[in-house]
Amino acid sequence: MASTAKKQGVGSVLWDYLTTVDHKKIAILYLIAGGFFFVLGGIEAMLIRIQLAVPNNDFLSAGLFNEVITMHGTTMIFLAAMPLLFAFMNATVPLQIGARDVAFPFLNALGVWLFIFGGIFLNLSWFLGGAPDAGWTSYASLSIASAGHGIDFYALGLQITGAGTLISGINFVTTIINMRAPGMTYMRMPLMTWTTLVASVLIVFAFPPLTIGIFLLMFDRMFGSSFFLVETGGNTIIWEHLFWIFGHPEVYILILPAFGIFSEIFSTFSRKRLFGYSAMVFATVLIGFFGFMVWAHHMFTVGLGPTANAIFAVATMAIAVPTGIKIFNWVATVWGGSIEFTTPMLYALAFIPSFTMGGVTGVMQAAAPADYQYHDSYFIVAHFHYVIVGGVVFGLLAGLHYYWPLMFGNMLSEKLGKITFVLFVIGFHTTFLIQHFLGLWGMPRRVFTYLDGQGYNTANIVSSIGALLMAIAVIILVINIIMTLAKNQRVGRDPWGDGRTLEWSLPLPVPYYNFAQTPLVRGLDAYWIEKKANNGKMMPAESLEDFHMPNNSFIPFVLSFGLFVAAFGALYFASGKEWAIDAVADLPQHPWALWVLILGLAITFGSMITRSLKDDLGYYVTKEEVLRDLEEEEQRREN
């Protein structure tokens, strides 16, 4: 398995990726699948902007428009942003803490396959009777009555991906607690690892409420319960609470790893230690903690009363403090640094003002009385796109360029990267800045069209032109990726030249066992320290010995596939049943559905039993093999 291994056939590469438990390959799976869904969500965004470009447009019908906005939001949050962040977490975190793999490699593979199958299931709704149409928040008062199976696809699809996310979250927390190399104390962990830890803890506590919320929705629609049916004593506000108890931490689950990526980039390309490291860690933890205290600021207009609104308003404003600490620390990191304007650094620099603008409008909305004015208007749309695109998507694009050589062993073109950057940033501000004003002028969100003569025409066409610029930017990025992969000019260790953390101390491509010897960490920015003190060679914390690695397994794929099959069974089982909600009960019956459900569950439980009965003891990487790899690496370095 050395880097000179003979070229593999397509089939064996495919089989390798279907069965892999290696975090570096799982990162690539997340990147491919997340990238695919990102493009899909982007196409949906373009459809929205085409529809809204001119007044009284009939490009999309009202019903289809609802489906498109729902799928745009759901896809971007659950199937694009989170998996892409998982891609970078998987690619970097084990390397940053000096581990040979994550704590549970098998579960890591299970997480990615659950996400992929859940995502496919959700998107198959387009071809099977219509996509969900109640918005990505799927408020029960809307979604309960939604005709057809769209909402059921949403519920079951998110249940499957959500399970995968929860599993990955548990895995990262355990990995970071247990698998750190000697000397890698908590306060020496790179910010990317810290933000992954806090985001993973948020996942562990935030996803179960969503699971319950979705179960309530499923049971009401498909099994005749009445959690949200007011006539039998139900209450639709329960959904809003459960959804936002998940939904608000979710925002921090997305933004914290992006903060982590930016922290690494600022420090690397300013050639300075991150300013205020301990304050940054403290702020990260504090943001995670406050993230659970503020969910009802999404519900100011529900009528929870002035006391509840006031408490949640104050808690929401308080989040601006740790976030402000971070912004100032990044600025201070760049200040006086020896700055290099690489593509990732450009995104990081553009992120500061963009994200701050999103933060400022966030504090505006935190004032509950004022929020009555902004609520459900384009002002909100502008706000959350400023934080999600200006924060998370900039972070993903920065991370893509920054970590690309670590993942693929070659560099994306800086020239094309900078063109993408300029187009994307200009397009982003063109699209969303004007939407603040649209909102203040009274345009409600989620409307499929607007009348001529209301003063919305110019702003909407400007916004649509901005979206076009972003689309062009993404197309150039795709061209960049294809060209880079086709040329495949290999780069060696520490390709940016200024790597500070452990992942850059490894040869490229990274050996499948990561570290020949577990490194000894002597301080923050472990690799940088050894560059200054030890000629860039990490000190080993153990002698060169055989070590243990887990076997590949096809079970995660099969297990996830079983749930995918079972979800179809569950979905069609409810059709035409008299106890289901009217919208589902009116559909034709499918007698085969029960068998599909049983088959799917049998596949899943069969996989679980196989996994449980067949002990997987893994295998040993021998000292001789590692020594051979080290020699080859030495020779390549001399050439």
Binding site: I170, P208, P209, G234, I238
Partner: protein
């Protein structure tokens, strides 16, 4: 640790065999974090139950005070709490490398769990006869979803521990199997703690 030795001779049996290997340590930490997630899951269920308690469409539906009786809930609680104690005995013998006694106490744990489950099924059937069902009202939906999720966890726990007893019968105790037993015991305790909250919030608060 060059080569992993699962079968530790009894004179070198560690005080905490369940965390003697790296996998054991990971399992231990990972499972506690999973239980943290489970806590959030049950917290959501309790909140839903409290929001919908006694929320029925018309006056002819029974309410919590009409339905719940403490004697039955007390017996169920005794079954489950005792099973938690017996699982502690099993773990105690596991740490003392006493395989036969560990298996015995695990078996008793399963029997007590089955007793609890039988009573819960009996209770559900009774309520159904009284017209309190999953579909009769929002109160019914919330009650059966909370209790049912707990009951489902009990079933999973019983299947899990039973499989462990059967699976380990031949291969005996090692630091590899010790970690598995300990994880199952942790899960069983968690189910118990949830029941304590159910007893308080559903039954005690229900009859008051």
């Amino acid at each position: 640790m060059a080569h992993m030795e699962y079968n530790v001779p009894s004179e070198r049996w560690p005080a905490h065999p369940e965390t003697a290997t790296m996998e054991g340590k990971n399992k231990f930490v990972g499972f506690w974090i999973f239980l943290a997630g489970e806590t959030a899951l049950f917290a959501s269920l309790f909140a839903t139950y409290l929001a919908l308690k006694d929320s029925v469409p018309s006056d002819d539906h029974l309410l919590a005070a009409d339905l719940f009786a403490l004697p039955l809930a007390f017996v169920m609680t005794m079954f489950l709490l005792t099973s938690s104690l017996t699982s502690v005995y099993a773990v105690y013998h596991m740490r003392n490398n006493n395989f036969a006694k560990m298996q015995l106490w695990l078996g008793i744990t399963v029997l007590l769990g089955l007793g609890f489950l039988a009573l819960e099924i009996y209770e559900f059937i009774e309520y159904t006869h009284l017209g309190h069902t999953f579909r009769s009202s929002a109160f019914g939906s919330a009650f059966y979803f909370l209790l049912g999720t707990h009951g489902f966890h009990v079933v999973i726990g019983l299947v899990w521990i039973t499989l462990l007893i059967i699976r380990n019968a031949k291969r005996g105790l090692s630091v590899y199997t010790a970690a598995k037993v300990n994880t199952a015991a942790l899960y069983w305790h968690f189910i118990d703690v949830v029941w304590v909250f159910i007893f308080t919030i559903v039954y005690l608060l229900g009859v008051l």
